[in-house]
Amino acid sequence: MLGLLGPSGSGKTTLLRIIAGLDFPDRGRVLFGGDDATGLPVQQRAVGFVFQHYALFKHMSVADNIAYGLNARKRSERPGKAEIRKRVGDLLDLIKLSGFADRYPSQLSGGQRQRIALARALAVEPRVLLLDEPFGALDAQVRKDLRRWLREIHDRTGQTTIFVTHDQDEALELSDRVAVLDKGRLEQVGTPDEVQDRPASATVLKFLGDSVEFEAIVEGERVLVDGRPTPAVAPRGVIGPARLYVRPWQLQFVDPAEAHLSGTVRASHRSQGRQRVEVERPDGRLVVVEDFDGDRYAAGRPVGLRINGGYVFA
């Protein structure tokens, strides 16, 4: 299961559509398990595509929607009526909408439509299942449930799946591998751990979550901020002035004497057992720090911060 991750306009959906055969590349080829599919029309690519807004056939019942791909086959390859009915029943069980065969899409909720769209795509037993922002139009709770459910289905069927998302959490939670795109370029492909621990570029790093940027100097093995050494490690080949990106949880409140930087608390708020504190540095820039939900940080209080890690780029 591969997640295509990137900011809007980075070309995720275009790439997905090229794989499906709905858009055409200027250069390059599309390979399915070694077979060149670049010249194949959509109909013959055997992909299952789930559209962002589901694109269900409004005038057909749920069962007819799911059976559509099977009914569309040539007579010689089409399964019998009973067989189709059985397959539709199995898929409805899979998506846990068994009693819904005779409903119409307009009578379903967003999450239910999403699942019907998935069942419709799975019915043709595609070589690749392509999902375009599968949870984009759903509210947060439904989204979480569906995410877990999609992963379950994937684990059960082993279906090769590529999905597009702009939500880092979604990509990191669902995928076996993540591909990060930016401005039409593939920045990095790797497991969720790899892209988080060893981001290939500052773009990848910034897109995967909040970070604070520092000007640093690399001297040999050491990465200095304001003349003080930090535990961050510079990649090979980076010498002299560099940029250090620090995640909010890699900053720690310490006594101003041993701090890399100091400032005053501007605001703080609690969320899910953690505190996010905005600290204003003397030059006016804001730094966001994440700390456990312990001491209260009142606005105006002077604090010192130590850098406990970070990622260095030239």
Binding site: L22, V42, Q43, V47, H59, V124
Partner: protein
């Protein structure tokens, strides 16, 4: 299906827009003055003859053949206009070509043109010595002064209705739905017949009904091209005018009432089919 609790009928539902009483009253008044009152007067006039009198008028061979001609050709013309109009609407919304906007505007011309002008233009084109008529004459078809001429005029008059009713719906078709059909392996023809067309049927029916109604009522453009031979190419509206000029007001009213009845029944049937297909295709 989940049973919805029976809802009590509310004459007026709360709404953010004020003025229900005023608009409802105004609408009813206008409708009564402009539509219902004249129709009532017509029926009242014809009822002077009594049911048997109206039946006698309907059985008059000349009247019967005119009615058959009017409704038969209208149906055919509306059918043709629907198919043709659908294609025109499709091309106009789906494809971009130089002059598209001009063609789009030209579709409305039959609405705006005085019908007599259209009739004369069509007559001169399709007359045996006209531009098109001469070609048709070579293959042995005489268009002008026959029911074929009436048919052509009715298609011309009905076309804008057929185009304008389906056009907005074609524009609204979600391209993704077609793509979904393609990814599921459906050939283009199947996508068209199973996915694209069914939701458009109600609109096509509306266009058909309007074109039909217009065809039945059309007078100006037809009398020039029809030749108006009794029993061959004489339409019912013309017969009404003839009766009027003979001061046979009751006879004219009787034919009009018969036309009204048939039209009403036809439109009712079309509306029922439409309501059925709307339900069938899951529109709320």
């Amino acid at each position: 299906m989940v049973a919805t609790p029976p809802r009590r009928f509310h004459f007026r539902r709360p709404s953010v827009i004020p003025g229900f009483g005023l608009t409802f009253g105004y609408a009813l008044t206008c409708l009564s003055l402009v539509v219902l009152l004249p129709l009532a007067a017509l029926v009242a006039r014809a009822s002077g003859l009594g049911l048997s009198g109206i039946w006698d008028v309907a059985r008059d061979p000349r009247v019967a053949s005119a009615l058959r001609l009017s409704f038969g050709v209208s149906l055919l013309a509306a059918l043709t206009a629907s198919v043709f109009g659908f294609v025109v609407a499709w091309v106009l919304t789906r494809y971009d070509f130089p002059g598209r906007r001009i063609v789009d505007a030209a579709v409305d011309l039959p609405f705006a043109l005085p019908t007599a002008v259209a009739g004369i233009a069509l007559a001169s084109l399709y007359a045996p010595n006209g531009l098109v008529g001469a070609q048709l004459a070579k293959v042995g078809i005489q268009a002008a002064y026959t029911p074929i001429g009436i048919f052509i005029a009715m298609v011309f008059i009905g076309l804008p209705f057929a185009v304008r009713t389906v056009q907005p719906l074609i524009a609204e078709i979600d391209k993704e739905v077609e793509e979904a059909s393609a990814t599921l392996g459906a050939k283009r023809l199947l996508t068209l017949t199973r996915v694209v067309l069914p939701p458009l049927i109600p609109a096509v029916l509306t266009g058909f009904a309007l074109a039909f109604a217009r065809g039945v009522g059309e007078y100006g453009s037809i009398i020039f091209i029809a030749g108006n031979l009794p029993f061959v190419s004489e339409i019912a509206p013309l017969l009404i005018v003839i009766k009027l000029s003979e001061f046979d007001y009751a006879g004219a009213a009787a034919i009009a009432t018969i036309m009204l009845g048939i039209s009403f029944l036809t439109l009712l049937v079309i509306n029922l089919i439409q309501a059925w297909s709307r339900r069938r295709f899951g529109y709320v």
